[in-house]
Symmetry: C2
Subunit: 206 residues, 2 copies
């Protein structure tokens, strides 16, 4: 069985719990609390030298890191990732957008403003920039979703999972989505997909 | 013929010129100078709403953005991207590492310290963080390259192209690579690949 090294309230980790649940892939969880430094222990660094969660240990012992690369691995050959070459590139385009233009502002704001005690004071000098860049990302998403139900290939894919993970909790990083009706409709559309689970969901442990 | 919207001294754009040259894919260039705001004109935003280069207009008129997504598109079915599912995920893992943990410090430092006049003063408060995080990324690469000739699949792939683009010009962002012998050996190994071209190379225009 795959083993997911995961922090429960990390959106990047949630992507994989959601995708594996929707794909019917059995896995067990190992909780890693990055706030307690558990991703920087010698044991964890031996597993993932980049010191980050999520990491997925496959049932054959091989390890993958980077949430969106793991999503791609899990989804190959399933309904969550199209076969068509252009559509696959579109899926990846939105996943790279998520990691470069979305997560570093929207997830990072949530991390410091909601998860880390005293983070708001510690990072006060960065908040304006997070807000500006986060809203730039939302504006790009809104413009796309005004004309499309999903991000790529005209259907629900891992690109939607990747972007849903931190968008649906953006308010925990002070972001107000009231100016983005198409994003809010899309968030609701994602929650109505078969076998959707929330960030709180965990697999039953053996 | 494909059309690449590109800034000549952008590493993200260089990735695609290098890959298309090595793959024997004919393309023409449209120069977009982001320092002059040319990626933010209404015409360019109509093409790529995220307002960034590179963007690739395929010969059928469809558009792709995000350098690493475009690399994946171009390399599917070629020697630069393995067929094996795990190896493909490894390639993507390093490409997401590049966009999340490498480019935002190493490329951004080069941009402000070498390309933008007055950038060193304007961004003085960020330089220490760029240096810390950039060296963290180099340390992860060094540890991998001490045991492997390339980043994924035991051979030269688009993961190497993605990481080469800004690593080989890291000194332009004040990074000193003398502490990373395995990275320096790998840089040299990349330049010795068949049909390697430098960042200055441009296709002959029709």
């Amino acid at each position: 069985m795959h083993v997911l090294y995961s922090m429960q309230n990390s959106g990047n980790c949630y992507k994989l719990r959601l995708a594996m649940h929707q794909l019917g892939i059995a896995f067990s969880l190992v909780d890693i609390d990055i706030l307690k430094g558990e991703s920087r222990t010698p044991e964890f660094l031996a597993l993932n030298p980049n010191g980050k969660v999520p990491a997925l240990k496959l049932d054959d012992g091989r390890l993958l890191s980077e949430s969106n690369a793991i999503l791609f691995y899990l989804a190959e050959g399933t309904a969550l990732l199209p076969e068509d070459r252009f559509c696959r590139a579109e899926v990846l385009q939105w996943m790279f957008f998520e990691q470069y233009s979305h997560e570093p502002y929207i997830a990072v704001a949530r991390y410091w403003l909601s998860l880390v005690k005293g983070g708001r004071d510690l990072k006060a000098h960065l908040i304006d920039d997070w807000m500006d860049r986060g809203h730039q990302a939302f504006a790009v998403m809104e413009r796309h979703l005004e004309k499309h139900d999903f991000f790529a290939a005209g259907r629900y894919t891992i690109a939607d999972i990747a972007l849903y993970a931190y968008t649906h909790v953006a308010h925990e990083g002070d972001f107000d989505l009231s100016a983005y009706p198409a994003i809010r409709t899309w968030l609701d559309r994602v929650t109505r997909q078969k076998d959707h689970v929330t960030m709180a969901w965990r697999p039953a442990q053996a």
